[in-house]
């Protein structure tokens, strides 16, 4: 070969070699740049994707804590089922993919091998049920009905059953001890939604797809405490799902137990008596409507007067909370929430609204004292009170003459309160209100806690309403367009009312103040509000937040967090006034409107206080209210469309007291029979192994304390079927046939010729059934 000197190489080639070199360098530079972009700039993003690739989680659900009654009797607990499950990751490691093991397992469980094999295969488009639809890293349940013997066989021969576990698993159960259903208080669980999973994702207690979440009642209120924390084991896996090693494991923490102040025995009696009272009411004829009372719903609250703790809370109609366990069926769901269901899911003790009727009268009494009137009076209990052309009658036009406020409470005299309320209305400027009206009657109602939540530890409590000036103005603003459209001067009754509302619905009229004074008109309260008020009267004036939860006890029993009673206010009354009201309410039970229901009650040993109420509802039958208290307990019962206060609710409330104190029908106290003569102080013990000391509840207590139908009760029938019922009271009513407990209010004065310009009584809105004026 000829040696061509380097310089002899053609410049074309030299240039091209440089071009190649530049090209090569730029290609390598491109690679480096891209590498930097992927690893340094976007590295975090890819690292996240990578970890999602190769980490799989296996979740051990936490056992939900129990809900216990005051003595430790479980109201909600977990049923243990022996669940045999197979770990797919373990089976797939075997040479035959675990076929031999599963066949052996089928033999032990008495199942067909084919069925077992089908259960562990993974679902996909081509695989029909049965197949496993969950995560392949989650143990797959083969059966949840294994017998202890089968479970033992599997566990003892663990080496024969690699990858197979036989473990007890928990399912929610509402055992209804002694038939105490407690449904609305307990609430229910339903599966967690995607949204909730999303929201809880980054919190310290994320939801699992299999989680159940409390939807109402205590299950919802205390969900966080009851739920516990699921255990999570993170496995590193390869592309085929083979486990490469266990990364980390957080063991499951079972949920805490909730001790409530509910006494399951008292609860059962309250439920039973409420139901019986409603059944009884349906047998009674309502003279006003010409048909039997419907008694469509009712509620009763038994409260510890000195703490606000709820001993029993029943709402009727009710339902079986177990129907929610394991997913509710469409049929059951329709039954619970459909239009024809009468909404048994509602807890009417905290969500049921109606006008309080005469049990409201303690508030105008306190308000009158605040406004400067004396307790002693005397005030004229006339048969009727007229304003302008309008006459507001006392019950059955009874005339009690000049009486004190105390006596007005005892006989439930409406006209006394009409006059006082009207007088105050005038002082505040009447139809031309002052700039800063005193509004004592409304202010005091607010101070008694009406129109706002009591703060009970149950979700979705409603506030009720005090129909004060502010509310009237707001309400008119919201509705005036409809009223003005519908209203017609000289039209039908409803049209006429709408017409007047359109004109002046924003103002507090004289008739409004009169109706309001006896718990009628637009006033709305819940049973729990009234129980809180009467408990406050009993305990010297403290308005407690009602509580159902009493303590949260850790699963090992070592940590006890008590839920202390908390007050949200004081009654705005002096000690003296409170004592006078207290005496008057005792008078109601001994010689007033409720006396006929407490015949033979050992008043000297257990002083009983009561107030009856019968609220009129436009378009419906009257609401029965009965508010009572002793030194330790306050009981408030209400029955919608149930008749009169003492008539419909009286016997039931008396029976609950009988059970609490062990009082027999003839007034004897048998302390052995007493269920709870003083409130439960101690908490049930949770042992370190998680078991709970609780008394056995075997039987239905309800009937034991049932009053035999007394002659009194029989006597009610003829006289107790009208808002004006058992009222026979003369000026000195005898304990036997006492006052009426109900009054009805208005007889319209002016007749056909009544002028449009006259102040009128509160008129019902055309569109809604709502309380109308009445008194009792």
């Amino acid at each position: 070969m000829t040696n061509i000197p380097e310089t002899g190489r053609s410049p074309r080639v030299q240039i091209r070699l440089v071009v190649i070199q530049v090209l090569v360098i730029s290609l390598l530079g491109t690679l480096g740049g891209r590498l930097w972009y992927l690893q340094i700039r976007e590295g975090d993003q890819y690292a996240k994707e990578a970890s999602g690739n190769h980490v799989q989680q296996v979740v051990q659900p936490a056992v939900r804590g129990s809900i216990l009654d005051a003595r430790g009797v479980p109201l909600a607990d977990n049923e243990t089922r022996l669940v045999v499950s197979a770990s797919r990751t373990d089976l797939m490691k075997m040479e035959d993919d675990g076929k031999a093991v599963l066949t052996k397992l089928a033999g032990v469980l008495g199942m067909k091998p084919q069925d077992v094999l089908m259960k562990v295969r993974l679902c996909n488009a081509e695989t029909p049920q049965p197949c496993w639809n969950g995560s392949p890293y989650q143990p797959i349940p083969i059966t949840d009905e294994a017998t202890p013997r089968q479970a033992l066989q599997i566990r003892e021969r663990a080496e024969d059953f690699p990858g197979i576990t036989a473990e007890p698993q928990a399912l929610r159960r509402y055992p209804s001890p002694g038939k105490a259903n407690t449904a609305q208080v307990l609430g229910y669980l339903s599966p967690v939604t995607d949204e909730e999973i999303q929201q809880a994702q980054d919190t310290d207690s994320p939801y699992l797809r299999s989680d159940m979440v409390g939807r109402s009642g205590l299950e919802r209120q205390y969900d966080k405490q009851l739920r516990g924390k699921a255990g999570v084991t993170r496995y590193e896996v390869d592309k085929l799902g083979r486990v490469l090693g266990q990364a980390e494991a957080d063991p499951a923490e079972p949920g805490a137990n909730l001790v409530t102040s509910i006494d399951s025995r008292v609860q059962r009696i309250a439920e039973y008596e409420l139901n019986e009272a409603m059944k009884e009411a349906r047998k009674q004829h309502d003279r006003n409507t010409g048909r039997n009372y419907e008694a469509d719903s009712g509620a009763v609250v038994v409260m510890e007067a000195k703490t606000g703790r709820v001993v029993a809370m029943a709402s009727n109609p009710t339902y079986d909370p177990n129907s929610w366990v394991g997913g509710i069926s469409a049929k059951d769901y329709a039954k619970l929430t459909g239009k024809k269901s009468n909404y048994p899911l509602l807890n009417r003790a905290i969500q049921g609204l109606s006008a309080p009727g005469s049990i409201f009268k303690v508030i105008p009494t306190a308000a009158a004292i605040k406004a400067g009137y004396t307790f002693e009076g005397p005030y004229n209990c006339s048969s009727a009170y007229s304003i302008g052309g309008q006459v507001f009658k006392n019950f059955e036009s009874q005339n009690h003459g000049p009486i004190s406020l105390g006596r007005a409470l005892e006989v439930s005299c409406d006209t006394v309160f009409y006059a006082l309320s009207h007088e105050e209305w005038k002082r505040d400027g009447g139809n031309k209100p002052k700039k800063n009206p005193n509004d004592w009657f409304y202010k005091v109602a607010h101070q008694f806690g009406l129109g706002e939540e009591t703060g009970i530890d149950l979700p979705n409590e409603v506030t009720g309403r005090v129909p004060d000036r502010q509310w009237k103005a707001d309400y008119w603003k919201a509705n005036k367009d409809a009223w003005c459209k519908y209203g017609k001067k000289g039209g039908s009754y409803a049209e006429q009312i709408a017409y007047e509302n359109c004109l002046e619905g924003n103002r507090l009229r004289a008739g409004d103040s009169v109706n309001y004074s006896i718990g009628q008109g637009d006033t709305l309260v819940t049973p729990i509000q009234m129980a809180t008020i009467y408990a406050a009267i009993a305990n010297g004036g403290t308005l407690y937040d009602p509580t159902v939860g009493k303590a949260v006890i850790s699963p090992d029993g070592k940590t006890v967090t008590e839920i202390e009673p908390k007050a949200h206010g004081k009654l705005p009354t002096s000690k003296k006034t409170l004592k006078q009201i207290d005496e008057a309410l005792e008078g109601v039970a001994t010689r007033g409107t409720a006396a006929w229901r407490f015949g033979g009650w050992p008043q000297d040993k257990i002083p009983m206080h009561a107030k009856t109420g019968t609220a009129e509802v436009y378009g419906k039958q009257t609401t029965s209210w009965f508010a009572t208290y002793t030194e330790d307990y306050a009981i408030v019962m209400t029955i919608s469309q149930g008749g009169t206060g003492s008539g419909a609710s009286g016997p039931a409330v008396r029976n609950i007291y009988n059970a609490l104190y062990g009082v027999s029908e003839d007034g004897e106290i048998d302390s052995k029979k007493a269920l709870l003569p003083t409130p439960q102080k101690t908490l049930p013990k949770v042992r370190t192994d998680g078991t709970i000391t609780s008394p056995k509840i075997a039987k239905d207590f309800a009937k034991e304390f049932r009053a035999t139908p007394s002659p009194d009760a029989e006597a009610t029938t003829p006289q107790g079927d009208d808002p004006a019922d058992p009222q026979q009271a003369g000026t000195t009513p005898s304990p036997e046939n006492t006052n009426r407990d109900t009054r009805r209010g208005r007889r319209r004065g002016g007749g056909p010729g009544r002028g449009g310009g006259h102040p009128r009584g509160r008129a019902p809105r055309p569109r809604a059934a709502r309380p109308e004026r009445t008194a009792s």
Binding site: L17, Q21, L27, L28, T30, Q39, E49, E236, D238, L240
Partner: protein, 400 residues
């Protein structure tokens, strides 16, 4: 490996050589060897063996229960490769030049053999010859070398003889014919990746030969037309079309076609600056990247050694390419220039394509990463190329 890099730096080309090479000063061979290329190639092979080991130690279905199966074989391949390099050195520049027709003939014979029942199919490409003992040969790797050698011989003959400054049209045509024959056979396999490499080689060779610009542009045009024709005539198999589709849109089907690219990118991206540590990569251990010991070996480096390791591999290949470019410029004859330039084109394209596809900037084709990927034929061919470069370097006058 890092030590190797440093020694390249201190033993830079030129009169000031590092002390340790003086031991061989009188020998001449050691003095004239291109050490940077040799050490970089050795470092890459060694690094490759570790990455291959990391990718395969858990793949029991591949390594027949022996986690070191691929590690040992990679070393063995490297050893054979080094032996081939020494063989090339021993033959010398001139000896090799005379052997070119024989080598070319042998390689064409081998790829023809692939088309017979002796050939076998791996990953859709019918480009392998199964040998006894579990070995297999991919003759298209050797064709890359013989095309370079054959074309260089034809194109440089008249120029090196001093007859002409540039190869004339007839010579160019002959050289192209020499290249096209094996390319057509490889395309029939079909081994598209190798054909692409060969096209680039032909381009590089023509560039370096000083052939007229018309040839260069004409060939580029013909390449474009050929690509369209291949597409239109449906010569490509479906899996090849899918690869291009997945490249155009990686989100197309992350579980299917786009899976390779996605998983590769996740593996590399998750490496960050320094990686998860050798043998610590979860993507690698979890075997999320297919073909990780061969075509996707770079993802192991990306995940376990991070940007540092990835840049090191690119850097080492850069050293080889840089030195090879210098050899192309420094050879005394056009033949040497063409051979060196052909090797540069081959290595550069294959590196760019292989790493580029793992980084998602190139479509997926079955091309190994020189020295690093597991695979005997590729390893032998690349080491043979190193041998060629060294022999070119050796025949350069000492005075240069």
């Amino acid at each position: 490996m890092t030590g190797g890099v440093n020694s390249f730096q201190v033993s830079g080309y030129g009169p000031e050589r590092a002390g340790w090479t003086r031991v061989f000063a009188r020998d001449g061979l050691a003095r004239r060897l291109d050490w940077p290329i040799l050490l970089a190639a050795l470092a890459l092979s060694l690094l490759g063996s570790l990455l291959v080991y990391s990718a395969t130690r858990n793949r029991t279905e591949l390594n027949q229960g022996d986690p070191y199966y691929f590690l040992v074989r990679h070393w063995l391949n490297t050893g054979i490769g080094v032996a081939l390099m020494i063989g090339a050195l021993w033959l010398g520049h001139r000896g090799l030049r005379t052997a070119v027709p024989l080598l070319y003939g042998a390689s064409v014979f081998l790829i023809l053999l692939v088309l017979t029942p002796l050939g076998s199919t791996i990953n859709g490409a019918h480009s392998w010859i199964k040998l006894p003992g579990g070995f297999s040969l991919q003759p298209s790797e050797f064709v890359k070398i013989t095309i370079i050698l054959g074309m260089a011989m034809l194109l440089a003959a008249r120029v090196d003889a001093g007859d002409k400054p540039y190869p004339d049209h007839r010579t160019v045509l002959q050289a192209l014919g020499l290249a096209v024959v094996p390319m057509l056979i490889v395309m029939l396999m079909p081994d598209l990746g190798s054909v692409m490499v060969m096209v680039i080689i032909v381009l590089g060779v023509l560039l370096a030969s000083g052939a007229s610009n018309r040839w260069i542009f004409g060939l580029l045009g013909a390449g474009a037309a050929g690509a369209i024709a291949v597409w239109q005539l449906g010569i490509l198999d479906e899996y090849q079309i899918n690869r291009f589709a997945a490249f155009a849109n990686p989100e197309l089907d992350p579980a299917g076609v786009g899976y390779n690219t996605n998983q590769a990118r996740i593996a590399i991206g998750s490496g960050g600056l320094t990686g998860s540590g050798l043998f610590q990569g979860s993507q690698t251990t979890g075997q999320f990247v297919p073909e990780q010991q061969t075509d996707f070996v770079f993802t192991v480096a990306g995940e376990e050694l991070g940007f540092v390791g990835g840049a090191l591999i690119i850097g080492l290949l850069g050293i080889i390419l840089w030195r090879a470019c210098r050899i192309a410029r420094d050879t005394t004859d056009l033949y040497g220039t063409i051979v060196a330039a052909g090797i540069v084109s081959w290595f550069a394209f294959q590196t760019f394509e292989n790493i580029g596809m793992t980084l998602g900037i190139m479509p997926v084709t079955g091309l190994p990463l020189p020295f690093v990927s597991y695979g005997g034929s590729s390893m032998f061919a690349t080491w043979l190329a190193v041998g060629l470069l060294q022999s070119l370097r050796m025949q350069r006058p000492m005075s240069a």
